[in-house]
Amino acid sequence: MSHIGEWLSERVPVSGAQLEELTNEPVPYHLKRWWFCLGGTPAYLFVVQIITGILLAFYYQPSAATAYDSIAYITEQANYGWFIRSMHKWAATFMIAAVILHQMRVYFTGAYRRPREINWLIGMCLLMCTLLVGFTGYSLAFEQLSYWGATVAANISDAVPVAGRFAKQMLLGGDSYNERTLSRFYILHAAVLPTTMILLIAVHITFIRLHGVTEFRTEDESDDAPRHFNFFPEHLLTELTIGLVLMIMLSAISTIFPVMMGPKADPLTTPEVIKPEWWFYVSFRWLKLFSLSFAVLSTGFIVGAMFLWPWIDGALRKITGKEEVSVYIGIVATLLLVGLTVWEAVVTH
């Protein structure tokens, strides 16, 4: 045993103590509260997505002729295929929800403020990537709704001034959905976006480590309570617990509500009722409320504002002199978000 240990330490000159120091960042005490652990959730789900995604890629064939049938094979014939596919789909839903919740926590606790503005920017990029990955993945199924969803999305992009048309052509590989489109979605979904996200997550976590996690004291804590606890093993166990709960939920939901095959894409007939995935309900309803160009421009404006929020927030605080102004804006925005989503969900058109 000791021989192997020696052999190893000679070639990998890292001692256990070093490793522990490297990983064992002191964790602020407030992270004992579950609510503050949401940041780890999307990361965990991201790993689930990578694993199930790689599994699905063994069978998926990205072309208009074969995409639907290969998914049908996964769903109907391959061992546990329906389960792996349902996991992938439900984990995507969970992941988007987790990202939004994580962002709301960061927002309402003001954790984006100086000196962490850049990490907020990276987080925003991750949000965009997550939405894009969700969209491209949904389109890969080549079902009626996903086909028409992609068509609608591409035409929305067309309405963006200046770069819109170019973006659409880049996305579709032509002016309209064609036989080259699916492979583009696929390479974005399975290679470009995940790699980008891995890099962004790495930077995101590095920044957290460099700045340290924002520290809070809640009122019911006594002043002499410990300010930190160890990442290893305490916090790791917390994350593991969350991970297991997620897995249990995922496998249960995937089994009870497995993903079925919808009708195959038909470029000649648009379905009567067409809806995107739920996380696009807001923008879908927004599009129906206003003219196309206004909706696109205003959406662009809102997204831009979200990116620049740490600075806007700073400016607002200076002007109004109030600390909580962002909280009020946040509440209004959240209500708007929920309101529009529910509205879109309950009506057919």
């Binding site: 004992k32 109907e76 014939q77 061992n79 546990y80 329906w82 389960f83 093993p233 305490e234 166990l237 917390t238 593991l240 617990t241 297991l244 709960v245 897995m247 249990i248 496998s251 249960a252 995937s254 089994t255 497995p258």
Partner: protein
């Protein structure tokens, strides 16, 4: 939360995760099991048939597609396995290096499906091809088409003509002669089965009759084999009059009976299809035996239409009580397996029938060792001959019924059904038969069938209306039992059969055959004097004298003939009126005598002397029945 507590929680959560995955596993296993019979059948063309498939996929893709969907394809049974033949088979030919035959017979299928073949050969279905000389066949051959036996002076047939000349041209089509068998080929034989024939070089037809195949199906008459005509490619020429044909009682060249594809359509041999009523409906429908329509009217058929998709028609064994219970189809009751009969399928539908409602008078299904219905009336002899009683068969059917109904319910249903059949038999069928026999015996109508109006009347009565009524009762279709059935039987009997029989007698009397007419009228009067018929003429306003002469529209010339006859014979009035009056008052002694033995015979207890006269009558009455006995219905 302490570290220890967290570790325990993680351990517990891990096992809950495992449990949720066990749930996943369970769903996966049930899914695979459910789909096992339905999906993912990988098929591979057996090497021996690969050449056939490659070519026929282009030339006749339909049969290849069907085959690919068959269980045969899954189990590696290709084209050659079924179509292969040996060089000494009369219909064998060489086709791209394989010796094959076009027609696959039950003997070929029975190579693997031995039990099914045995059961089928025993069934009435297999005998459906023996319709040559039957009433139905005479209809199609002579009445609807053309057939004439040319006889020599001794009366033996030297030639049978079946073609006649057209009487005016058909523009655009050159027609030399008309095939008088056309209706038989297309109508009768497609259900009953043809006698498969090869064309001979001398113009004759070579069938199983000439080939005289041995027990293995090889022809023994080599002269007949030598006569077979071959086309340019060396293929024996099948007579178009006998093939294409998948009639259920086909008489094949190898001596085997029937055609499996009558029900198990080639080339997918779908069990699913054979289990559905539409399959039987190719033949079991129409005015004379509307079993399919009767089924559709019944609650059974209604339930099937509604619940069809829940009935697991694709399952392997399709056992009633295990795979489905929603509704029965034809197959469920008459052929398929159920949980109470040891899950045994039969290919002899007769195994579960207690009555045969095919002949004019229904008889119970006591069968002998060959599966033939025993007609012996002597109880002791009968007991010896019967190997399977109608009660046995009813027992078999009740095992099916019991999956949904109580024994009490079933018993009462059978009581209703038995009473219905007996009422038909006794009130209309046996009397009708007796009247027809009396007319034939006394030479008031010819022995030839369908040349007298009353023969059509009687045929309608039992062959169409009588069967509709009985089948309607047997399968719970009230409208067929009554309005399409007994109502029309009664109307036919009272409004047509009786008046026509009387009219024949009147004509005969007028033509000087008074004695024969009297004998026939006595039979009619005896029947009408029975309690169940008494109502008919009891209160009827009777006409005498001149009125009687114009009754039923007797023609003017007949009246004159009658007047002439009056000089020589006793007054016509007396002849006509006497029985009617007698029937009204009391049963005359003569009629009473006739009634008694008839009853005895019905009971099956009559002693020899008493039974003699009615038996003679019976024989005569049985004549049309005898001929028709071979009809498979």
């Amino acid at each position: 939360m302490s570290l220890r507590a967290k570790q325990i929680i993680i351990a517990i959560l891990g096992f809950i995760f495992l449990l949720s995955l066990v749930f996943v596993q369970w769903v996966e296993v049930t899914r695979k099991q459910e789909e096992a019979g339905l999906t993912a059948h990988h098929i591979a063309v057996p090497i021996k048939s690969r050449q056939c498939v490659e070519c026929h996929e282009k030339s006749s893709p339909g049969i290849i597609d069907h085959w690919k969907g068959s269980t045969h394809a899954v189990k590696g049974v290709g084209c050659v396995e079924c179509h292969k033949a040996e060089a000494d088979d009369v219909d064998a030919f060489t086709h791209y290096g394989h010796t094959i035959a076009t027609i696959v017979t039950p003997r070929d299928c029975g190579h693997c499906h031995q039990n099914e073949h045995k059961e089928f050969e025993r069934s009435h279905h297999a005998k459906a091809g023996n319709i040559l000389a039957s009433l139905d066949n005479r209809l199609a051959e002579v009445v609807e088409g053309f057939r004439e036996d040319v006889k020599d002076e001794q009366g033996s047939i030297i030639e049978t003509l079946t073609r006649f000349n057209p009487h005016s041209p058909t523009p655009g089509m050159a027609i030399e002669t008309v095939n008088g068998n056309a209706s038989v080929d297309v109508g009768c034989k497609q259900c009953h089965g043809s006698k498969v024939s090869l064309e001979g070089t001398d113009g004759s037809l070579i069938s199983v009759d000439q080939l005289k195949p041995d027990a293995t199906g090889k022809p023994t008459n080599m002269d007949a084999v030598a006569l077979v005509k071959h086309d340019a490619s060396g293929r024996p020429v099948l007579s178009a009059s006998s093939w294409p044909n998948t009639g259920i009682g086909r008489l094949n060249l190898d001596g085997s009976l029937g055609s499996c594809s009558a029900c198990h359509s080639r080339h997918d041999f779908s069990p699913r299809r054979a289990r559905q009523p539409e399959n039987c409906g190719k033949c079991h429908l129409g005015p004379d035996h509307p079993q399919k329509e009767i089924y559709e009217e019944s609650k059974h058929g209604v339930a099937f239409r509604d619940l069809k998709e829940h009935m697991h028609l694709d399952s392997k064994d399709w056992v009633l009580g295990r795979d489905y219970t929603q509704a029965p189809t034809c197959a469920s009751c008459h052929m398929s397996a159920n949980t109470l009969n040891g899950e045994k399928i039969t290919h002899d539908p007769g195994e579960r029938l207690s009555w045969t409602n095919r002949p004019p008078v229904s008889t119970v299904m006591d069968t002998d060792i060959n599966g033939k219905i025993v007609t012996e009336t002597d109880p002791a002899k009968r007991r010896q001959m019967v190997t399977s009683t109608w009660q046995d068969k009813r027992q078999n059917m009740q095992q099916v019924c019991l999956h949904c109904h109580t024994q009490n319910y079933i018993n009462s249903f059978y009581k209703q059904y038995d009473d219905f059949v007996v009422n038909y038999n006794e009130k209309f069928a046996k009397p009708g038969e007796a009247i027809m026999a009396a007319l034939t015996k006394n030479e008031l109508i010819s022995k030839a069938q369908f040349d007298d109006e009353i023969e059509w009347t009687w045929f309608y009565l039992w062959h169409h209306e009588g069967r509709r009524a009985r089948h309607g009762a047997s399968m719970m279709a009230p409208d067929y039992a009554h309005w399409h059935g007994m109502y029309e039987v009664a109307e036919r009997f009272y409004q047509e059969l009786i008046p026509q029989a009387r009219e024949i007698a009147e004509h005969a009397t007028a033509a000087g055959k008074g004695e024969a007419a009297q004998a026939a009228l006595a039979v009619i009067d005896e029947i009408l004097a029975r309690p169940e018929h008494k109502w008919y003429e009891k209160n009827k306003i009777k006409f005498t004298g001149e009125h009687a002469a114009v009754h039923e529209g007797i023609a003017e010339d007949l009246k004159q003939a009658q007047a002439a006859a009056n000089d020589a014979a006793p007054p016509a009035d007396a002849t006509n009126d006497k029985p009617v009056e007698a029937a009204d008052d009391a049963t005359p002694p003569a009629a009473k005598d006739a009634e008694k033995p008839a009853e005895d015979a019905a009971d099956g207890n009559s002693d020899a002397s008493a039974a003699t006269p009615p038996e003679g009558e019976r024989q005569a009455a049985n004549n049309p029945l005898r001929v028709d006995d071979v009809v498979n219905r």
